[in-house]
Every structure is written in structure tokens, then in C-alpha cells.
């Protein structure tokens, strides 16, 4: 079962780009404490994103004629791993590079490709994804926000919510209802590119429990879009979103969300010289073994992308296991530290621990909840 998920290795040509991206990532990481770096793909730094673009690390998988570098998913794996491994601030370009660009390449018109892809590859424009609505979370097919045809294009009315990065982004790729009603479910949905500076768009940031404002409510009131805002085919939005989610779920970001905390804790153990507590040793070993296996599973999934497949089930499997690991880290590290109440814990480690502890529930919400992913896996097992 799931026989195609098998050990794969990163090609030498892709490993070869590691030193260059490592140097850039280290530069960005060196100026931030662990309590900033744990934010990683929530860390917004547009200047850093542009530097990555200039250095050729964005749009890696895009054709050269669109400003890309014609590398495969393995090269992107190396770049992402280097950035997340040290907690470099990647939020600005993250979604555009990971899923908007492949979506536009796969389903967009020639004019859309020429317009957006070179700017994404340079780190000049940033995208967010308009999926969730107040009444549509896991039940994504129930979206109500509507785009209606006008003489010049489309008019959008409705609301999105929990849109990560919206306050900083230039464009949203929104899943909208272009025909029928929410009862029609998957039919009648389409994807449109919304210029977030268009009249009628209002973005209201939502503060999260850690004090950050990375997600937002986005309101559309008679927002007029040109006819070429539609991506792909009208009514094919559901199919396109499903393909897009395979990109979102398959990357190493689904195993590395807590890795800066892991390293900060290990550095603490090394500094304090606590190296003989059997429970702590077992915990360090457990995390190390599981990280090694999850990394190999993520590369195995990347190999399916590289083979031209859309590994929807495999990506769900790796993401669910990966986020469980990411969520157990802060709980276990908190217990280990507090099991030694007379040992000094510095303020940076404490803030990093509590940040990851508080945001950890989001790891198995964003990009598809645990229960939705397990439903997809069950379908892959022939159970539904």
C-alpha cells in the first residue's frame, strides 16, 4: 500500500546549490534571536525575499522564459530546507513561490504567465490564498463569495477570512462562486486573481494569540476585476485547488515548524552540561530519529512531484505525521525543562518555547485539518 512512497535521495546537482542558499539564510538568521526565528514562515521581510529573488532562489521550478530557473522540486526542497532549518523570514514570498506560481504556470493563460511569473521569481510581488470564509472552513466547497460576469469582466462581493499574509500582499488567488449556489458544492467554483489594491477591497488584520497579525479578514464590495482575472477554466476551481493543495502540503515546511525550538533546547542542554539524564537522552534521540525519517518521507514525496505526479494522498500522509511531530516538540520540551526547576532557562528559550506552544494548534489546521487529511488518506486506502 502506498508503494510509491519509498526512499529517494536528493540529486547531486540540487545538493550543489546548498552552500549558496545556506550563506544567505545564515545572514538573515544571524540578526534574529531564537524567539524571532521560531516564527520562520510567519516571519515577514520583503527585502530578504527580494534578495532571494535576485540570487535566483525563487521561481526555481519555473521555465526560464518566465524568469524561472528550470530546476525541479528537489532544488526547491534544498532551498526550503536551508531557509526553515535556521528560521529565516520567508513569509513575504512564501505562498507566491510555493503554490501561486505553479498554479499560474499550470492553469493560467500565456498573458497571465508573462505578467505574474517573472515578478514572483524576482520577489517583487506577493500572493495570498483566499479560501476560508466565515461559513467555509474545512467544508471548502460551501464558499459563498461570488464573482459575477459584467460587461468588462467580473464583480466580486463577499468575504474571506483567516487569509495568511493578506495585509502585506499584492494579490489574492481567490476561490469564488461564479455560478450556482453553495448547495451545488464543487460545481460552479472558479479561481480569480484579485488585485488587493482594487477599489472595494478592505483588509482587516486579525491579531493572534501570540500577538502577531499575520492573518486577516478581507472584504469585497463591488470589486471590479478585468475579464482576464479568471485563472484556468470557469467552473474548474475545485479541481485546480486540489492540485494546488498538493504543492502546499508536500513540502518540508510541514516538518520543520518547530526545528528552531528543538535546536535552541539542544543548545541549552549542551550549555548546561545536562547530558546524562536518561529521560532527556531518550527524548533527544526520539526527536532526532523521527526528524530523520520525516525528512526522508518528505523527500520521497518530493520525488513523486519530480516524477510529474500530483501526490495528494502521499502529501497528506507526510503532513499529518509531520505536524503531529511539530506539535509534540513544544509539549515534551516544556516538560523536560520544567522537570528541572532549579536549572536556569534563559529568556529567549522561554519565549521561543511559549511561542511555539501557543501557535502549535495551527500546525494541524493550516493547509487542511488533521481530520480532513486523514479522510484523504482513508480514501487512498480504498475506504471511502
Amino acid at each position: 500500500m502506498f508503494d510509491t512512497l519509498s526512499l529517494a535521495s536528493l540529486p547531486d546537482a540540487d545538493e550543489a546549490i546548498r552552500p549558496a542558499i545556506r550563506a544567505l539564510a545564515a545572514e538573515a538568521a544571524s540578526v534574529a534571536g531564537a524567539d524571532r526565528r521560531v516564527r520562520s514562515w510567519q516571519g515577514y521581510d520583503p527585502a530578504f525575499s527580494r534578495r532571494l529573488g535576485e540570487a535566483g532562489f525563487l521561481g526555481l521550478t519555473l521555465p526560464k522564459r518566465y524568469g524561472g530557473h528550470e530546476r525541479g522540486p528537489f532544488a526547491r526542497f534544498v532551498v526550503v530546507e536551508e531557509l526553515l532549518g535556521v528560521g529565516a523570514p520567508v513569509a513575504a514570498h512564501w505562498i507566491a513561490d510555493r503554490q501561486s506560481a505553479p498554479l499560474i504556470l499550470n492553469f493560467g493563460s500565456e498573458a497571465q504567465r508573462e505578467s505574474y511569473l517573472p515578478r514572483i521569481a524576482k520577489g517583487e510581488i506577493f500572493f495570498c490564498i483566499g479560501m476560508s470564509e466565515p461559513g467555509s472552513g474545512s467544508d471548502l466547497a460551501s464558499v459563498r463569495t461570488r464573482a459575477e460576469r459584467t460587461e468588462t469582466g467580473w464583480r466580486v462581493n463577499g468575504q474571506k477570512i483567516w487569509t495568511s499574509g493578506a495585509p502585506h500582499c499584492d494579490y489574492m488567488i481567490a476561490l469564488l462562486r461564479t455560478s450556482g449556489s453553495p448547495e451545488d458544492r464543487h460545481a460552479g467554483l472558479s479561481q480569480l486573481i484579485v488585485d488587493l489594491k482594487a477599489p472595494g477591497v478592505t483588509i482587516r488584520p486579525i491579531r493572534d494569540l501570540a500577538g502577531d497579525e499575520h492573518f486577516a479578514e478581507v472584504f469585497f464590495e463591488d470589486v471590479d476585476l478585468p475579464a482576464d482575472a479568471l485563472i484556468g477554466e470557469e467552473g474548474e476551481g475545485w479541481k485546480q485547488v486540489t492540485a494546488e493543495l498538493a504543492f502546499e502540503r508536500s513540502g518540508p515546511e510541514r516538518i520543520y515548524s518547530s526545528v528552531v525550538l528543538l535546536d535552541t533546547w539542544i543548545a541549552h542542554l549542551q550549555r548546561t552540561g545536562r547530558r546524562d539524564d536518561p529521560a532527556t537522552l531518550a527524548l533527544v534521540g526520539d526527536f532526532t530519529a523521527r526528524l530523520g525519517v520525516l525528512r526522508a518521507m518528505s523527500i520521497a514525496c518530493t520525488a513523486r512531484l519530480a516524477a510529474g505526479e500530483s501526490p495528494v494522498t502521499e502529501a497528506s500522509l507526510v503532513k499529518d505525521l509531520g505536524t503531529a511531530f511539530e506539535q509534540q516538540l513544544p509539549a515534551a520540551i516544556g516538560d523536560d525543562l520544567a522537570a528541572h526547576p532549579d536549572e536556569p532557562v534563559n529568556a529567549e528559550l522561554y519565549r521561543a518555547l511559549l511561542y511555539v506552544t501557543h501557535v502549535a494548534p495551527s500546525f494541524s489546521l493550516r493547509g487542511g485539518t488533521r481530520e480532513i487529511l486523514r479522510g484523504i488518506i482513508a480514501r487512498g486506502m480504498g475506504l471511502r
Binding site: M1, F2, L5, S6, L7, S9, E81, L84, G85, V86, Y256, V259, L262, D263, I266, L269, Q270, R275, P278, T280, L281, A282, L283, V284, G285, D286, F287, T288, A289, R290, L291, G292, V293, L294, R295, A296, M297, A300, L317, D320, L321, E371, L373, R374, G375, I377, A378, G380, M381, G382, L383, R384
Partner: protein, 316 residues
């Protein structure tokens, strides 16, 4: 994928069907099965070509070991492959592996059906005749053995990292193979068994449990492959990663397989127990997850690299 896997798997299907597995577990003679395996030449899979073996890389042999797990093969095939690779002049017949201290009784997997034991005492290898007591666990092929004194004759130094590390990557592969078979059996059963007017596999609560089982099963496969991906003998990190992850998952996978099957899975006549019993025995053999986690944790704490670099470099 190895070109040898398919013929190997076909051979196991014909030589070791569940009825043959049960007969040998019940004390029946294993000679016919063993002779068939010996004739196939696979026992020398790891022996270098210059010594007349097939000289297969460890990674390919790891795939064969997983096939042994998928078929609950009741003789020490993987152990004998390892022993024949380590010994210049290996005897005929099944060979079990053991790591022991003088005077300490241990449980040796396949001790009941082995003719010899390759024994690692304090870093020195000895080849001894298999002699032990039954464990008293019904169906188990293991035997309880003890060596009060270090045997006089040695057959050389233990491989770097000890015989236990080699046995651990074999054990990990056997667990991964059994986990694969159990996941397939469990999904199939859930699709057939009807309760409340529909197959129980349509119940979301069971779907979610089986999805986790599939995740654990794939993690076992990849962990076992990592154990066999590098050098022979494996590094501490490779052995620890393989055995830790498969051992921790083994207990969960067995639990879900039984939970979905209900009472029939507990019965002797149904094949499920052939595999769940092996998962648990494999977990307990050659170090559980906590044993390997402590060793790996100590190595990790002594290393200045970041965690991503560490796993990338020590597991390649």
C-alpha cells in the same frame, strides 16, 4: 527496486504459506522450508562475489528482509544472510544472532529453529551450536539462552557498532514488512465487515485510526530503508533511527489492526496474529525504541551541528 524482490517474494509465497508457518511454530520440522531457501542461493545475498556470493548492496537486501516480514517467514533467513556475510567459513543450516553478557540469560529470536548462533560477547564473535530453553510463549520461535563463560574459540571481532546494530536494522525491516501486510489486511477487512448496515470502513472513527496506521506503516518502511541505505555495518545513527521508529510504531500498528478486526483477530485460526505477534517480538528484540533513543540522544548531544544538518549528514 531490486530485480530480485519479485522472484524472492514469489518463492516465499510458495514455500511459507500460513499453514507452513503455523506448523513450524507448533514444533514441526523446518527442513523442507530451509532446503528450499538454501537452494535458491538467497542466503548468500550479502556474501561478496569473490567469495561466491551475490554481493548485493545492503539496500537491496533490506527490501528482501521486508518481504520476509510480509510473509511471517518462520526461520532466520535475514540472520543467516548476515552471519554468512560475516563468517569466512559459515556452516550449513539456519543461524540466529545474539548479543549477550556472560551469565545473563537472553531471548534469542529464532533460537528454537536455528542450528547455530552467531554470538557477540563484549565485541568478540563466537559461533556456537544453538541450545536453549523454550520461552514458554505459545507460537514463539525464540529460545532462552545463556552462556556462563566466554566460548573458547572466536571467529573474529564483532563488526563496528556491534552485532546488535546489524540485527537491529534487520529487525526494523521485518517489522516494516509485517506492518505493510497488516495495513493491507486491516483495510480489506474494514471494507468487508458490515455492521449497522454498512462496511465498518465507512465509519469515520475507524477511517481516522486506519489513516494513522498507514502513516506509521510508511514511516516504518522509510525508517527500515534508512537503516539499510548506508554502509555495512550500519552507523549508530542509521541503526538507531531504523529500530527506534519501527519499534515505537509496531505497538500502535498492532493495536489498531486488532481494534479494527475485533474478536476474530484474537483467534488463533485467523492470520492476523501471525503478524501482530511478530511486531511485538521484533520490538523487544535487539533494543526497543528507548534503548536506541538514549544512544542516539547521547550522540546528538555531543554534536555541534543543527538538527537538520545532523540528520541529513549522518543518515546519508
Amino acid at each position: 527496486m531490486s530485480e530480485f524482490l519479485e522472484p524472492f517474494e514469489r518463492m516465499l509465497e510458495s514455500l511459507a504459506p500460513p499453514a507452513a508457518v503455523r506448523a513450524i511454530e507448533a514444533g514441526g520440522n523446518a527442513d523442507a522450508l530451509w532446503d528450499g531457501l538454501a537452494e535458491s542461493g538467497f542466503l548468500d545475498a550479502l556474501v561478496p562475489e569473490e567469495r561466491g556470493g551475490a554481493g548485493l548492496p545492503l539496500a537491496e537486501v533490506g527490501a528482501l528482509w521486508q518481504a520476509l516480514g510480509r510473509h511471517a517467514v518462520p526461520v532466520p533467513v535475514g540472520e543467516t544472510m548476515l552471519a554468512r556475510a560475516l563468517l569466512a567459513d559459515a556452516p550449513d543450516g539456519p543461524i540466529a544472532l545474539a548479543t549477550a553478557k556472560p551469565g545473563v540469560g537472553i531471548v534469542v529470536p529464532f533460537g528454537r529453529v536455528a542450528r547455530h548462533v552467531l554470538l557477540d560477547i563484549d565485541g568478540t564473535l563466537h559461533l556456537v551450536e544453538a541450545a536453549g530453553e523454550p520461552t514458554g510463549v505459545p507460537g514463539s520461535l525464540a529460545a532462552r539462552m545463556r552462556w556462563d563463560a566466554v566460548p573458547a574459540a572466536s571467529v573474529g571481532a564483532a563488526p563496528a557498532g556491534g552485532l546488535r546494530a546489524l540485527a537491529a536494522i534487520l529487525r526494523a525491516a521485518l517489522i516494516a514488512g509485517a506492518a505493510d501486510r497488516l495495513t493491507t489486511m486491516t483495510a480489506a477487512y474494514a471494507g468487508e465487515r458490515v455492521q449497522f448496515g454498512k462496511p465498518i470502513g465507512k465509519q469515520q472513527a475507524l477511517q481516522q485510526q486506519m489513516a494513522v496506521m498507514a502513516e506509521d506503516m510508511v514511516a516504518c518502511r522509510i525508517a527500515a530503508q534508512l537503516g539499510c541505505a548506508g554502509a555495512f555495518p550500519p552507523s549508530l545513527a542509521a541503526a538507531a533511527t531504523a529500530k527506534s521508529v519501527t519499534s515505537a510504531a509496531a505497538a500502535r500498528i498492532a493495536a489498531t489492526a486488532h481494534a479494527v478486526h475485533g474478536a476474530i483477530g484474537i483467534s488463533e485460526e485467523y492470520d492476523l496474529q501471525l503478524f501482530t505477534r511478530r511486531l511485538h517480538e521484533g520490538r523487544l528484540a535487539d533494543g526497543s525504541e528507548s534503548y536506541w533513543n538514549r544512544l542516539l540522544g547521547a550522540a546528538r548531544l555531543g554534536d555541534a551541528r543543527g538538527s537538520v544538518d545532523y540528520v541529513r549528514e549522518v543518515l546519508s
